[in-house]
Amino acid sequence: MAKQIYYEDVDVGTEITPLAKIAMTRMLVQWAGASGDFNPLHYDADFAKAMGVGTPIVHGALKRAWLGHLMTDWIGEEGKLKKLSCQYRGMDYPRKMKTMEEPHDGETWWCKGKVTKKYIEGGEHLVECEIWVENGKGDKTTPGSALVALPTRSEK
């Protein structure tokens, strides 16, 4: 894990350390099993077509979980994730598999974010962030926000 970040280290505009993710069909099946979301929209081509989304799409909740990973990596063990929200605005399409474990070349998704506000309230050092998942074209398919409490150097 990265070294601990403190409240004093961030300002409005500070960038959250980006996190790369590659969605692939295998991963969607793994996510279905782990999350219990067995909607065929995410693995059955004919069903996805009938639903009007073209081909199977990445689970919104998986992208939400990626954003959770982004935030908990950034805030470190002493940070506290208090709120996280996101909207599944754009469809994302996983890479197909080349081998049993490796996908074909293609899109890489990036989880990103930046600090929008910092303030002290109820004894907590709070930081609000705008966060999102962007696709290979740079479109924010999954915009959201997060509220975290960070440790402070003065209380170390």
Binding site: A34, G36, D37, A65, M71, E77, L81
Partner: protein, 157 residues
């Protein structure tokens, strides 16, 4: 417009009605599989020995993971079924979610979730006439502490 609204009286009646409680068990293996599916190697979610030596004292669940319902199914499944039964459109997409994390959830927790529909709106989208349902859930642990609140959006068209 009112005549062909998706939000019929039958649908409207579902707003604010609390669901039957849904019980979730948070198990170590389920946490590990969930973390692996995210691709998050954080030892707090993956390594029980490491996690037991931290202030948490046990494997933690990644944010948003509430374990598995002991009776099967999914959190919003019953709500969705009740909407369909009331005549709402059968095609559904997940619109998004807001989480408020109150206490860390971890291995061994037994959570009881209660859900209710907070509101329903509709508008024309590229999917056609589309209904947006906000479902609120509150998760309590075995000691009666509120651990997590969520607001999710179901999109039906």
């Amino acid at each position: 417009m009112a005549a062909d609204s998706l939000i019929t009286d039958k649908v409207k009646k579902l707003i604010g009605v609390p669901s039957e409680p849904i019980v979730f068990k948070v198990e170590e293996g389920a946490i590990q599989r969930y973390a692996q599916a995210i691709g998050d190697p954080n030892p707090l979610y993956n390594d029980p020995d490491f996690a037991s030596r931290t202030k948490h004292g046990r494997l933690l669940a990644p944010p948003g993971f509430t374990g598995w319902p002991v009776k099967g199914g999914r959190l919003t499944e019953e709500v969705f079924k009740s909407l369909i039964k009331a005549g709402a459109p059968p095609r559904v997409l997940d619109g998004g979610i807001e989480f408020e994390f109150i206490e860390p959830i971890g291995a061994g927790d037994v959570l009881t979730a209660t859900l209710q529909i907070a509101n329903i709106t509709e508008r024309e989208t590229r999917l056609g006439k589309t209904m947006f349902t906000t479902v609120e859930a509150t998760f309590m642990n075995q000691k009666g502490n509120v651990m997590l609140k969520s607001r999710s959006t179901l999109i039906q068209f």
